[in-house]
Amino acid sequence: MTTVNVGASERSLKQKVEQALGVVAEDAKLSKSYMTVAFIALLIGGFLGLFQGLERAGLIQLPSWFTYYQVLTAHGILLVLVLTAFFTIGYFYAGLSQVLGGILPHVRRMAWIGFWLKIVGFVCAVIPIIMNDATVMFTFYPPMAASPLFYIGLALIVIGVWMCAFGAFINVATWRKQNPGKQIPIFAFFATGVFVLLFFGSIGVTIEVIMLIFWSAGILETINVMVSRTLFWSFGHTLVNIWYLTAVSAWYTIVPKIIGGRRFSDTLTRVVVILLVITNIPGGFHHQIVDPGMGEALKYMHVFMSLAIGFPSLMTAYAMFSVFERTGRLKGGKGLLGWFKKLPWGDVRFLAPFIAMAAFAPAGAGGIAQTTNQLNQVVHNTLWVVGHFHLTVGTSVVLTFFGISYWLIPHISKRVLTPQMNRIGIIQTIIWTVGMLFMSGAMHYVGLLGSPRRTSYTTYGDHAVALGWDPYMILLAIGGTLLIVGVIIQVYAVFNMMFFAPKGKTEFPIAETEEEPQGKKPALWADRWGLWIVLMLLVVSMGYVIPLVDMIVNAPPGSPPIRTW
């Protein structure tokens, strides 16, 4: 069996010091709180997902006091907003504490204020959802109008996230001032990239949400629907890449350490982060390929923008496999594929992120298909899309998060991962994988047959085509049932590791870089974040000036708020 505590045999001085210092208690408490919320969101959101799956298969019918669409709204918000945001912030703050020698006291206070702003915001958003006054799905497209409280809640959540982003900037900037001439540690570099995207990516949606508050409160009479959708997706798409970048941070910096290897070229890693940050935001248009009010030429231009993101992804795939191969060969793997067998398959901290990466191959291919105009028209608003993002965020991202939890939770709780818990983790990973294969596979296929997304169970008056979807819906429900088992195991594992596992020290496993050629200077230019931000903003204006001016100047009459449910 592969031992759970795989580590480089020789530890550098830096690591020894880190280990002696251990984890800063107050920072650990912060991260634990974020993790707790994240995994409670997973538990509730998971059950809501199950109900949806069962309803769509015609096995249950959701009651009139908690309709399918209320459930769907809550499922979306809990999982794509709460789970991911809380996990990302908790994870990066734990890492920043580790690599920057502790979170600064006032930054910690900011992160706590951010925490409570988000919680209050979330409560504000949930109340109208439960009261059926905000059944607008997580995309809250106007002209569907929710109660103002819902939008106020969203605005508070965003402000809470900004607190954490600025806290991270302050912490990194302070560290740089105290360490002149040194490179930002790679983990903090990823964190900076993620928080830059979180902040700049959410400016557009904040403008939208503020307008929506006034509009739903009756102060603004009408709203420009196209502009709202465009602003939403400038954020929605960026959010997707924030999760992706978070997962990628673990693939580049953590996974190599767990398999006992070294990480990929430091400079190239930084280039990948910079590219993802610069090219990201205008990609949002690929969510609007079927929207009216935008010329074909413009949509064509934006296909290019979204494909640009494929490039750093391919670099990542290459980097990962080169690290795996090198490590496998160092461990004595021979021949063409012998190294593959030498990887620690019995270690959940490796297995979960590995499956996550593997899932990204079909998920990314599906994404490239969707971004193509004609193919998008085939799958748009069908269950294919739902299948796609359960593969990307529901597998690639979430499974990486799960893999992280098996060392991060023990690390911040001053406990250890026991072999039993590792085994539970392996089982959980397998259940999740099989469940997603069923659910996402069925969704993809039935989407091609035309089954719409965001639609509760209906046979369209027993129409033959709609009846033909039913067998796949049963597969979907089977997958969903497996997944809920996975959710329960995962949440159990997290809270067990947080409160009941044996006490001990678990390190925050950041790999050392490959040996750089002698005399090679560190790539200090990569740390010029001000420059990357300016370039990012230039790309954003290149992408958005043309359509936004057109949508605003040539706007049709705006829409009043409409309650469609």
């Binding site: 230039l538 001016v549 100047v553 040539n554």
Partner: protein
């Protein structure tokens, strides 16, 4: 291929009639993509001339000032609405655009940028930032169509393009001022 080769390839690519037509069909892309790309092509091609005629640059562009002046004048010339219009209607002007931007902007920019002092660089950067602000306001505020070939909405878009660029430049200046202070 050498740098100069890449530059030449880019220039030839941009000159292919359908490509040129595509870029010129949208006003902002004409000015903010085609023209800068032409300058960039010249920036690369410059290495060829620098190697071939070092004496020429030595003699005429010793401290970089003449070159940067030439660049500024020619580049500003192409920001006048009238010149864009003429490029579309008068073939000779279109040819002049494809020659002047690479060879009278890109080449001298390359030769000068590494010769001029930091102070001059700052002046050039600040001037263009101000110019972009001014042009942005001009194109947004102008109540009439400034080009025969482009609609008012194109003009407005271009104005916002200028303004957003100027804002980005401003952010860079602020960032630069701050980090420079830190470095000293």
């Amino acid at each position: 291929m050498t740098q100069a080769g890449y530059g030449l390839a880019l220039l030839l690519f941009l000159a292919i009639p359908p490509i040129a037509h595509l870029f010129e069909s949208i006003m902002i892309i004409h000015m903010h993509m085609q023209m800068p790309l032409l300058v960039i092509s010249g920036f690369f091609i410059a290495t060829f001339f620098q190697k071939r005629y070092p004496g020429f640059f030595e003699k005429w562009n010793e401290d970089g000032i003449p070159g940067i002046l030439l660049f500024s004048i020619v580049f500003s010339y192409w920001m006048i609405p009238r010149t864009m219009d003429e490029a579309l209607t008068v073939p000779a002007v279109e040819v002049f655009k494809f020659i002047s931007l690479p060879f009278l902007c890109g080449v001298p920019l390359r030769d000068s940028w590494f010769k001029i002092s930091l102070f001059v660089k700052k002046i050039v950067f600040a001037t263009f930032t101000l110019l972009f602000f001014a042009l942005g306001v001009l194109y947004i505020k102008a109540p009439v169509q400034l080009c025969n070939n482009y609609l008012l909405i194109d003009q407005l878009t271009l104005g916002w393009g200028f303004l957003t660029m100027a804002i980005c430049f401003m952010i860079f200046i602020v960032y630069y001022v701050f980090t420079e202070k830190e470095a000293t």
